[in-house]
């Protein structure tokens, strides 16, 4: 099965956007991936595995699943596969998602 490229277009030179990480405002370059914006802001862990061990974005290309965060209430989003957007509400993800998430 052929897979379309997952790489996103390069960021725009000057624009900035603002999103929140666990409620805290964060500035980022317009067009960066969410994973890049998170790493630029903090190298600290942004999720924990089922056993509770900490993880942060790693492969930056959709393979390792270490960059999972909750975006606007949606769990298990791979932060390296989406561009950061103005007003995005991002939460660190603790452990595994449940079957029904809070919208």
């Amino acid at each position: 099965m052929s897979i379309a490229s997952r790489f996103l277009p390069p960021p725009k030179a000057d624009g900035t956007v603002c999103f929140t990480l666990d409620g805290e405002p964060v500035m980022a370059r317009d067009g960066d991936t969410l994973a890049v914006a998170i790493l630029a802001h903090t190298g600290a862990a942004t999720r924990t595995t089922a056993s509770g061990s900490p993880r942060a974005p790693y492969c930056m290309m959709g393979v390792c699943f270490e960059c999972l965060v909750e975006v606007d209430g949606r769990p298990n989003v791979q932060a390296c596969l989406i561009p950061v957007r103005e007003g995005m509400a991002v939460r660190r993800q603790d452990g595994l998602r449940g079957l029904r998430h809070d919208g």
């Binding site: 595994l96 449940g98 079957l99």
Partner: protein, 372 residues
């Protein structure tokens, strides 16, 4: 130097390894020759069910065999775990079949009644209308017309089963040779001479052919009539969930690590293990009909894998009429039957007084039907 193996098992999938495990338990020196990673390997793509519901509804010996295997599983899993240090995650807490079509539901009810007539008090099942089902499990969708339940059904982690068997066979003193594709077997006075694809030659006093879909050329050389065919099954794997599903079914199962396996299509497409969008969509649709809350759960992986099917779909345990030191073992449901292959089959291969009666699974049934 290593003592020469008394028995050579050709094929290192679940069937070959479980057979080798049983022979090692019985005190034999065993060598397993296994092919290449690029081979079609059902043991690496299966669903992991240890399943009884519906098995052998139309063929009593198969119902009995499956029932025996299910009963042997707890001890077998414990033995493999002890020898390998690998937890197989066996769970035999009962399983459901969910139905979305009324006529399929009633046809399956009839199958289970036939199975119960065969197995008597060794089998029990419940037939649960949709609304009763939803009283117990409110999360089940309105499109489910009913379910059947069998308290004897269960599952294992299939990859850990394969790995556990590999480690256990080695721990019991067996030798597993990888990249050892047997190209030609020649019967000789002392047993068999084998030519491997990599150019080496080996002698074997006795062989058991367990090569899955790779069996055909060797079966012909050993004088067997059995020719297996491929049947494709496709399945989906979702992201891991914290929530534990309250049930196990033959189409939706949650493994011990949290991910869901959704599956089990059937397609007669020859040796083609590609997955198709149509089948994948059908599986996802079924899962969401059964459990609407799955609608926003992401699928991470999908694959097709090929089942190993005998002409009538039932297992084959047979000795070569022309070369009695050669036996052939092949089956669908090699996970369910692993507990039988890893224990009592050794008595049959060794022809001891405790040998189970496997006459119904001899391959002369194909020879007869072909000439009839």
């Amino acid at each position: 130097m290593r003592r020469e193996a008394e028995i050579t098992v050709i094929g290192g999938g679940v069937v070959g390894l479980a057979t080798a495990f049983g022979l090692l338990r019985a005190g034999r020196r065993v060598r397993v020759l296994d092919g290449a990673d690029s081979d079609l390997r059902a043991s690496q793509g299966n669903f992991g069910l240890v399943w009884l519901q519906g098995k052998g509804a139309g063929f009593a010996p198969y119902a009995q065999l499956s029932r025996d295997a299910v009963a042997l599983w707890p001890d077998f899993a414990a033995e493999v775990q002890e020898a390998s240090g690998i937890d197989l995650a066996l769970d035999q807490s009962g399983g459901y079949e969910f139905f979305t079509e009324a006529d399929e539901f009633s046809a399956f009810k009839a199958d289970l009644e036939a199975q119960e007539a065969t197995l008597g008090n060794r089998f029990s099942h419940e037939v649960i209308p949709g609304d009763d089902l939803r009283r117990s499990f409110p999360e089940i969708g309105p499109g489910v017309v009913g379910a059947t339940f069998c308290p004897l059904d269960g599952h294992v982690n299939p990859l850990r089963l394969l790995r556990g068997l590999r480690v256990a066979v080695t721990a019991l003193g067996g030798e597993i040779v990888q990249g050892a594709k047997v190209e030609k077997v020649t019967p000789v006075a002392s047993g068999f001479e084998m030519a491997l694809e990599n150019g080496s030659r080996l002698d074997a006093p006795r062989v058991v052919l367990c090569a899955g879909l790779g069996a055909a050329p060797l079966a012909a050389q050993l004088g067997f009539a059995t020719r297996v065919r491929a049947q494709r099954g496709e399945l989906l794997i979702t992201e891991k969930l914290e929530t534990r599903l309250p049930f196990l079914s033959s189409t939706i199962r949650q493994v011990d690590e949290g991910g869901l396996q959704i599956g089990g299509t059937k397609a007669e497409v020859g040796p083609d293990d590609r997955e198709t969008r149509e089948m994948m969509a059908g599986l996802a649709q079924h899962a969401v009909t059964v459990l609407p809350a799955l609608a926003d759960v992401r699928v991470l992986r999908a694959w097709g894998a090929l089942r190993v099917m005998s002409p009538d779909g039932y297992p084959v345990y047979t000795r070569s009429a022309a070369h009695p030191a050669a036996a052939m073992v092949t089956c669908h449901s090699g996970v369910t039957l692993a507990a039988f292959h890893g224990t009592k089959l050794a008595d049959w291969l060794e022809d001891t007084a405790a040998a189970p009666d496997l006459e119904a699974f001899d391959e002369h049934r194909f020879a007869l039907s072909a000439s009839a």
